[in-house]
Structures are given as C-alpha cells and as structure tokens.
Symmetry: D2
Subunit: 338 residues, 4 copies
Amino acid sequence: MINVGVLGATGAVGQRFVQLLANHPWFELTTLTASERSAGKPYGRVVNWRVDAPFPETVADRIVSPTTVEAVKDLDIVFSALPADIAKTLEMDIADAGVIVCSNASSHRMDPKVPLLIAEINPEHIGLIDLQHDSGRDGCIVTNPNCSTIMLTSSLAPLLPLGISGVTVATLQAISGAGFDGIPGMAIFDNVIPYIGSEEEKMESEPKKILGTFNGAEIEPASFPISASCNRVPVIDGHLMSIWIDADYGVAEAKNAFARWRPPFSGLPTQPEETLHIFEEPDRPQTRLDRNRGNGMTVSIGRIRDGIRYTAMGHNTIRGAAGSSVLNAELLKTKGYI
Amino acid sequence: MINVGVLGATGAVGQRFVQLLANHPWFELTTLTASERSAGKPYGRVVNWRVDAPFPETVADRIVSPTTVEAVKDLDIVFSALPADIAKTLEMDIADAGVIVCSNASSHRMDPKVPLLIAEINPEHIGLIDLQHDSGRDGCIVTNPNCSTIMLTSSLAPLLPLGISGVTVATLQAISGAGFDGIPGMAIFDNVIPYIGSEEEKMESEPKKILGTFNGAEIEPASFPISASCNRVPVIDGHLMSIWIDADYGVAEAKNAFARWRPPFSGLPTQPEETLHIFEEPDRPQTRLDRNRGNGMTVSIGRIRDGIRYTAMGHNTIRGAAGSSVLNAELLKTKGYI
Amino acid sequence: MINVGVLGATGAVGQRFVQLLANHPWFELTTLTASERSAGKPYGRVVNWRVDAPFPETVADRIVSPTTVEAVKDLDIVFSALPADIAKTLEMDIADAGVIVCSNASSHRMDPKVPLLIAEINPEHIGLIDLQHDSGRDGCIVTNPNCSTIMLTSSLAPLLPLGISGVTVATLQAISGAGFDGIPGMAIFDNVIPYIGSEEEKMESEPKKILGTFNGAEIEPASFPISASCNRVPVIDGHLMSIWIDADYGVAEAKNAFARWRPPFSGLPTQPEETLHIFEEPDRPQTRLDRNRGNGMTVSIGRIRDGIRYTAMGHNTIRGAAGSSVLNAELLKTKGYI
Amino acid sequence: MINVGVLGATGAVGQRFVQLLANHPWFELTTLTASERSAGKPYGRVVNWRVDAPFPETVADRIVSPTTVEAVKDLDIVFSALPADIAKTLEMDIADAGVIVCSNASSHRMDPKVPLLIAEINPEHIGLIDLQHDSGRDGCIVTNPNCSTIMLTSSLAPLLPLGISGVTVATLQAISGAGFDGIPGMAIFDNVIPYIGSEEEKMESEPKKILGTFNGAEIEPASFPISASCNRVPVIDGHLMSIWIDADYGVAEAKNAFARWRPPFSGLPTQPEETLHIFEEPDRPQTRLDRNRGNGMTVSIGRIRDGIRYTAMGHNTIRGAAGSSVLNAELLKTKGYI
C-alpha cells in the first residue's frame, strides 16, 4: 500500500479527500493534518462532517497532525486542500522533502514546471515532473485545475482536433465551491450573484495551459481566447455552464467528435466509466439530477447545437476538486512516479 | 377616466396586471375576465392571490366576466394575459371590435403591423397602429416582448448608436416566468434546468424587430445575429443574464454610452425614475436585491467590462410582462391613441 | 428467486421501489405496471427518472404492463405505489387472486384484518394475514404506514414500555412527499405551508393501530391521544418532527430507553444497521445531513430533553414509503408467508 | 421633531431600523453609530445595504458615529441593535445620561425595572419606567422581546382572559433571524436545523413577563408553563409556529376570542391596521405570502382547531425586532415620556 495524507482535512475539499481515500484500493490514508487548534485530537472529534455521505469510521480515531513538513515528510503522497496563501511555500517545502504533492490549491497551477493535470485530458503533461526532479527537487508538485476549468476544459478536448478559435462561457456555480462557510445563506437564497472573485481569470488562463503542447521542455499554451462570466446560483453542488465555440465546422461534426471521443486510458480506481456523458435529451444535463453520475466524476454534456453551443455540468467538489486530484495520483502510480 | 379590463385575470401575469391597475391614476379597472368556471363569481373569491403585495380589496367584489369579445367590447383598453393559443384569434376579434389590446401574449408579436413595444426603447413603432387602422380595424393590438427579451433589448439600446455586430447571451431565469404552476418544486429545487421551451427563439428574433427602423410602412429589423442559451434557476422572481457584444469599440466608450443614455420621455405613471440603473459595484446587480428597483420597472446593468461583456437583470413579471404592457398603454394615451 | 412487480412504477414512490428492487438479493423484479398510456413500451423510455441515484439499466428494456390483476396474478409479491382511490378495489382483487400485496397506499391501512406494519416495530401483527386467509383470500394485503407516521411511531416504540399518556407532534415535511408534481415551485420556495391534506388525521390514528396489541383475533389499539400539526417546508427529502410525550418519568429514563432499544431481529437485506440512531449532538438530526443514514432506512433521533421532548427525522420516500414496504416483504419471507 | 439615533446601524436589525426611521413622521434620524472601523465615514459608503427595500438616500451622506455614550447623549431616543454583550453596560450608561433607549438586545429584557414591551399587548408595563426614574436614572431602557416571543405572545393575548394552563410551541424560523452572516448557505440549504441557541429559553420565559400583571411596583409573571422546540428552516424572512394551548374551553370560544380581540389603541404611525389577522383558509398563514401583511407588522393566525391548536406567523425583523421597537417608542411619546 502507498501511504498518503491530506493537508487541511477538515475543510470542504479536505473532507471530500478523506471520503474518497478512506477505502481506496491503492492508497492507505495514514495522516490527516489541520490547524494547530485541532492537532493532537482524534479526527472524528474535530471534524464537523458535512459531506452527504456517511462519515468513514475508520479514520474517526486517527490523531490529527499539525500542517507541517515534519508531519508528512515520510509519506508517499499528500493531497493538499490548503488555502492558496498557505499552500504557496509549504507545498514547495514538502515536495523538496521528497513527497509527491497532489494539490487542489491554485498557488502553483501556472508554474512552468508544474503539471496542471486532468488525468484523461492531458496525461502527457505529467512529464513536467522530470523537470522538477532535474532542478533538484526530490518530490514534486502536481496540480489539478480550478473546478469550473475542469468541466470547461474536459468538454473542449473532443473539439480540439477540429479546431477552436475562441470560447465564450457563462457559469452557474454551486455554493459549495466557496467552502462550507463561504457564502452566507442570506447572501444566496433566492438570489444570483454575478461575480466570483478570481474565477474568470482562472477560467481564461488555465484551459490554455491544459490544452497546450508539451515539447519535453515546456508547455506551449493553446492560443484561442476565452471569455468567461461567472455566476453563483443557489444550488448545493454542481457547476453548470453555457458554452459557445468559435469554429468553422458544423453541429454534426461537433456532435460526432463528442460521440467518438474516448479517454486515453481506462480502469483507474477513481476513473468513471464515462469521462464525458453526452445527453440527447433537450433539457439535460441538470445540476441535481446529473451531478452524481459516475460517482461525481463524469462531466455531463448536452444541448449541442448550432453556434456551436452546448451545456456542460459536473460535480464541483468531486470531479472539480478532490476526485480529480486522486485520479491524478492514480495516473502517477501507473506511470511509475510512485 | 379610461375604462380598462384584464383578460385572464387570475393567472400569474393577470394578477400582476390587477395589482398594477387597481390604483392607477388614469385607468379605471372595470372588467376582469377568466375561464367559464370562474365567470359570474366575485374576483376575490375565485382568485388564489399569490402576488407578494397585498390583495387590492377594491376589486374583491367585482364579478368576473367570461373571456369573450362581448365582455370587453365597450372598454377603451384590455390588457391580455391570455395563453398564446387563446390569444391568437380572440385578440384580433377584440381589436376589430374597436378596443385597444395591450397584450403580453406572444401570438402577434411578430405580425408586421403590430408594434412590439418597449415604451422607452422604440416608441416610434407605435406608428404601426395607423396601418392597423388603415386596414379597417377599429381598435388595435400592441404587444410587449418576451420577459427576457425586454431585459436584453433595453440593455442594448444605449450601444446601438455605437454599433452592434453580434450578441451572445446566457440567461438565469426565475421560476415565476413559467406561471404559478409551471414548474414543480421537485423539478427546480437545488437544480438548474438548461432549457426553456421557445425562449431562445424569442430572444433571437424579437430584439431585432424592436431595435429595427420604422419607415412609416414597415419595420426594417436590426441585422446583427443573436445567440441565446436559456437556463432556469431556483429563484422566485428576476431574470439575470450574462451578455457579450461583438463590437469594435472599447469598454470606456461602452460605459460612457450607458452612462449618458436617457429615455426619450419621462413622467408616465408606471415609468421608473431610472429605466436603466448602472452599477459600479463588482458584484451587482443581484437578483433578489435589485429586482424591485423602480417598483420592479428598472433594468439593472453591471459588470461592464472588456469583451464587451456585462450583466443585466430585471423583474420578469413586472418590467418583463405586466408593467411594460401598462406603460405601453400610458404611452398610447399621451400619443392620442386613446 | 421470488418474482415481484411494482404497481405504478413511474411515479415518485414507484421509482423508489424500482431502485430498491432492481438489485435485490431475494426478489426478481419482473413486472412494472403503469397507466394505459405507458403500457407496451419499454420502462426506460416511459419513465422520467428523477430519483437521485443512477437509473438501473437492467430494467430499461422491460416492457411496461397495464395496471391490472391479469398482469400480476402470477407473481409472488406486488409492491403497490398506486393512488389510494385506484388501490382500493384493485389491491383486493389482486390479493384475492393469490398474490401478496405490499402496499404503500392508504386505502387498506385501517382495515381490521390488514397489518399496518413497520417490520422492526410490530412484526407480530403479521398474524393478521391468517385472518385474511381464513376469510377465503388466497393472497393478502400488507400495508406500511404514512411516511410521517413511520418516523413518529418508530421513535415511540422505545418509550412504550415506560408508558405514554399523550403525544404532541409538529412536522416539517419535505416536498417529495407530495410526489414529483405535487407542489409547484412557486408555492413552496422561500415558504412554509402549514397544512398537508389528511396528514394529521393519519398521524393521529395510524400509530395507535401499529402500537396496539394483537390478541390473535384483532388489534387492540393503543389508547393515548395524539395531536399533530403538519407543515410543508422547502427541503427535497426528509421529514423532521418536534415531538412531546406526556409521561411521568424523567429524561434520564427516556434516554436510557432509547439507548437500550434494539429491533427484534436483524440482518434482513433492506434493514439498516441501526433502526434508530440516537444523536448526542445538540443540533442533530438535520434533514440534509442525516436523511441518507442507513441508506435512508435509519430513523434519527436527537435533542432528547425534559418535557419529554425530542426531534425525529427520516427519509420519507425510503424509510417512509418504498423501503419500509420492501422490508415488510422480507419479513414475510422469513416468516414463511412466501 | 424628536431626534433619534440607531446603535449598530449597519447590521441586519440596524438596517431595518434605518429603513423604518428614515421617513418617520415624528422622528428625525440624526445619528447612526457603528464600529470604530466605520465611524467617520458616510453611512452610504460603509453600509452593505441588504434590506429588500430601496436604500433611503436621505441618510447616504450622514457621517457614522462611534458607538459611544458621547455620540448619542443629546438625542431624545436611541434604538439599539447592538449585540447583547455590548449592549449590557452601554445601554445603561446611555440611559443614565438621560436618553430613552429602545432596545432589541436581550441584555435587559428580564431586568425587574425594565419594560419588556409589545405596545398593543402590555402597554401598562410602561409604568416600570417610573421605577427607573425613581432610582435616579435620567433616561430609561425599554426593550422589545425576542422575535419568536413576539409572535407567540401576541397570539396568546386574546386567550388570556379565557385562561391558559400551558403552552407548547414548535417554531419554523427564518435565516434572517441569525443576522446577515449568521448561517452559511451550505448549512441551511435543503435542510432543517432543529436547534437555535438560547431561543427556547427566551420563548419559555419572556412571554410570562409580558403577560404578567404590573401592580405599580413589580411585574407578577404569568404562571403557565411554556415548552418550546425551535427549528431553523430555509426561508429568508418570517417565523411560523405551531402552537398548542392547554385549556378547558372549546374551539368555538377560542375562535370567538380571537375574532373579538382589539388592540387597546390605534393610529400610531408604525401600528398596522390589524395587529392580528385571523385566517379562515385551511392553509394560511404561509410564510412568504403573509409576512409582509401590515408592512410586516401584522401577526397572522390561522388553523385554529381543537386541541386548542393554531398556527401563528410574523415578519421576524420587522414585527419581531425593529418595527416593534419603533412602535414602542411611539407609545412612549403618546404617554408623555418624551
């Protein structure tokens, strides 16, 4: 078994990591870190479990560690659910200490030597890890993209070979994206908030790196422009988006590309049967009905029509965060990095 | 006083008409029509009042009429909240009988001789009424656009002089737009439905007629293409939309155009102080906080930024339906048509 | 394998039956009935699947039968999700034809010879089936109680030996209790409706039969009065209730009774590990966080305090309907009735 | 005009005070206090206005004062929306300085010399002010009850002459009761929380003081016991409650008492036409439909039936907080205390 830990295990994304790792066939979840206040106490006592899946009793008595290099330096992998500001230097220190850091934080996503990885979309970017090793780092940092970016970029992959001249996207994002305490009930009930801090910037830059070409030395980013407008809507989980593609092919060709696309590998433990599910029904995907498809790991796509326009939707804290990060780690394992 | 009636007075839009007309300074609400089942009974007994404003007791004892030409032929104006299929011939018959029909139904919006009117945006289209008179009709039909169209088109007006090459719009629409019983709670709770029947078609055609040029004989429609993706979100009232404009000017020019735009007239009873309210705050307009601005008649605009992108929002059953129709009737009065 | 069918398989409770039976270890789901309109077509095509669990593909091609005696007379068991008015005579005819009818309908719950059964609470009432057989019926009808009744009555069972002089209960019930189309979104968003038709009457009578004594010939109902006030609240699934017990013992004794209570048997496939889960936390159970406990079959109880007062909560369409009915059938099997 | 101020003018209740006072016919709102951080800046710049009524522009440029005795000592009245811990000594100091403090804070509600006042229910308790004066205080403190207490107690007043032997109440309370940032969206969406800190204690003690007898020297509290279970439900505004009364009279008598009850005075500016509105409809009051009755100052009562049981509902931040406090001040004015 491979020993793994979760940095920031009591937060919204941290709890998802714990849920996904508690019974993982390859990974043994041995270490849970949290703030000083919680360190030294049993996880079951300090966590306010709010994932709508049963609490994994196997980790109830695990003593919480402080969030330090020392606490995790002997692990094979740590999954990071840390806030960006804390992640910044700590993740580098942990990677330098020889640990593989699979991070959901935004701090290192755009670092030239750090893979910004969606396992089924750009697995070849994993080669950037060698550059980290070459520069003297014993471990490495691998990041997954922003939650909305994952849905958007996964949906763009099948069209990429046909050509993409530009992307316009309006998002309808769930409140869980802001963390458990991120949005007051009074702020979002019966309301739409047409603004999510830094979200549009991420959606307009991250996909270009992910869909860029790795030549062995660096990533040549994709060149098409992306224009995003992000909205918060009153749903618990699931980010839905209306997407337009500037393209010189027709709907039939686009539909065909979606229908034929297959991920480059299959069978990893956290990988869903369908990376993309294509709906023919005129009114799908819908957030509540489809977010749990493939245990929350499938990105659902529908309403492909002239424009080229379509709708994409996925579970923001599973496919859009913890689940994608765990899948990245599984890919690293199959590629011999662990 | 001008005698007016409401066709279909017990439905969602019908109740809004009654609310807006019960204490109108110019119009005397004398006639309320509904289905055969309700006809002959006091309005206060048959209506299931669900507008979140107090029931106007002055109409409680008014006996409901059947929805027929006979019932309204002696009125000056009828406001129609009828379903499109019923409105189709009945509104023509009523207009032929000499009554001004201000209709919220979609049936006649695209008729070449029928004004599709947003009072402050294209008041000159009112001249189409003369063509109806010329063709032998004693009364006339005047329509207001689809709810989402009203918000979108009102927001386009200031930019029109600068040039619009294309419009892309994603909507986040309230459940009241489907009527009281239109959407089951189970269907929309904690959910987004990325489809609203016929809505995109309306949004892609109606604005071009409204922003078209009237040369005295017909409307030359605006030529830019519109691409709409419509989503239903779990809010009660208020349609918000993310809008992109293809344009060759910059944000500063666009902002300037919004800031300087003024409606061509002011002071009508149902007209708000501001037809458009321009927000500088980065996170406004918000649906719940801003939908009642100007008694629900103001269209709020914000987040104007490069792209050109912005957000528009308005109250769908007031500015987007009954309120705009009443304002149209007020304009007709000032123009001498009543 | 035991051949089973579902009557009314396309509705809200019918879909839950299908979900629970599609992969049942003892029961083979061979027959799905629906209205004439759907009969003759594949289930996967006529059902609008709205359970938030994946559609069981194994039944997708099953041809839907009409809801008749003929269609199900060769089955061992049918589960009925029919409306009460249709269930009334049809369930009797099917039972007369030799089939065991496990019904969620209210029609026969108070029939003197029909068990009103919560498997873990009053399994001995199953003996009423013999009276049905004695009266010449080849099959039998077994009913489960109203959804709110199940939560309330399950929570009363541990206290019954200590004595119950009276029960006062206020419910906060989910919208799924009214079926998929039962409550318009406009009616329940941001709202509480303090009325649910016939619900209070059921809650005030059914628990007395369930907690009554079966002497081999009839049920002597429990004698304490129940006073219920039922409210609909804007949550999807899960009925929560505030309960007061008139009693002459203290909180410590009541807590002790809850802590020690165990169901009279264990290990049935649909039975949860805990029939009752007792919370010590001051703010639990909560509807969204706890409704899926025990796959939706556990009734959660908390806030036991002087009064005697406490809070109970359970999943209304699983423990409160289809799940309890399937568990009843499992009990019948172990008792040799199948 | 009478000069008034608001302590804590930027919070949820503070904003309601500002809304109700900005155009008050008797009171001139001259002073707005907030934390040190906001002091010295214009109110319109520091307040994040979230009341769903238009921001009163007349106070936009008012410079915010620090929350000190010095800032308000020359006013006639201050309305306090302070947290209980800050209110404790500061309100006493302000009252000692000669100002009338109308407080929504809980700190002094149970002080023997402080009126706990619902203007139409126990106006004679105002006499306690004389005891404060006698003890050397130049001003005085007058409090209004907890929000849920106001609805409950107002509904009990008509029954008091018939006799009340006990009260059982389950509440369904809105999220605005916890302040703007009180409850995270993730915590309350699609959920019921069966616990509100200190709420049950307040509901079980405050009504007895309010309905007690003032003999000129002290309040003899009402003697009946109250048992409350408080639940938070996902609605924005409006507290609804299911109430049971232990009584030896019948429903007809109770209904009669409700129908005949009238407040002891009428015509104060903030007083609604109906202090209590009695519904005959079987499914009213409903939270969203009825909370704004009487500008949010009417308590709605319905479903009076055997038990004696009924439902009561009112707007928690208007009748349940700021509105009741302003009405108390108006009563003081008519009684010559200002």
